[in-house]
Amino acid sequence: MDFARYPDQRAAVRNPKPPVPVKILIAGGFGVGKTTTVGAISDFEPLTTEAEMTEAGIGIDDPGARSEKHTTTVAMDFGCLTIDETLKLYLFGTPGQARFSFIWDDLARGALGAVVVVDSGRLDDCYPAVDYFEHAKLPFIVAVNAFDGRLAHDLAEVRWALAVNEQVPVVRFDARDRISVRDTLIVLLQQALERVGARQ
């Protein structure tokens, strides 16, 4: 490095402090509307990042057999909302399958909380996500994506079926609507706030 050419004050100007990133997870089963949710509020069209996971196959216990390794690619759609020049909110869609715990841990670490998107016609799909967040003690809410303005079950039934703690908000929203998604995120943040308050 040529310190003569780059005095300290120029360094401060040329390498400014970047905005702080925070993230919220958008979880739920396949096809429930996670990417739509992200896209409704993101500054840019949702991008996709892929992670490669290596899974050891069967045959580990048998000393004679070669254990087979399979690689799977897990895709995650995400977006970003710039709050201001010092703060950016990332929204990461989680993979539908629960078995990639490696990825889930990476996603959940340092997250503000999660929105578990539910399709009221297919409640089963979101059980793994709900289990994971309860276990990880990450603030989360359940948000029922109302297609065409209708719900297959009403919210009380969804709550009962998912057996979530009564403190967990179960709300209804429209994944395509920016304001609806915004309000859903605010409900989640209120949960996060209460969690912080309870700790103090």
Partner: protein, 171 residues
Amino acid sequence: MGADEYYGGAPRPGQAARLPPYLQPRPYGGGHHVAGSSSGGRVPAGPAPPSPAATPFPTGPRPFVVTRGRVGDDVSDISLETQVTTNWEAETGYGVWVTLGPESRAIVAMCGTSVSVAEISARLGLHLGVTKVLVSDLHAAGRVFVHTEDVSTPFSTEIILRVMHGLRAIS
């Protein structure tokens, strides 16, 4: 003279060993002007560069070594949202620039505006694991800053309120 002196100083002890082969300086990067002849050369004036036989660096195509499953200490604290910024103070000679592979160059160029590791991965079409390794290597080479320590968890009331406030401002 050795290639170390030619490049204006040897790497600190142990540092060259940490840099993967494709990031170590090479004696014949493309576009280098030969020192000692023209006054417009980009490299510091001095004796002619060492002959290929004398250099300790490998010649020929450099292997792109990214081991699948390599998760060292240097990448484990990089998250998807971790911000990466270009180090504008890094040496910008063309000869040094071309020692970076095309993916690494693209990353350095992208980080002029602060971007997340996930964005780098998505926009360049690289797997997340590969991206983390490349970013970590670029950090070791002093080309980018990797801002892993910005947010402390558990979160403060202040930061949650700032996000809420920012969301409420959306119409």
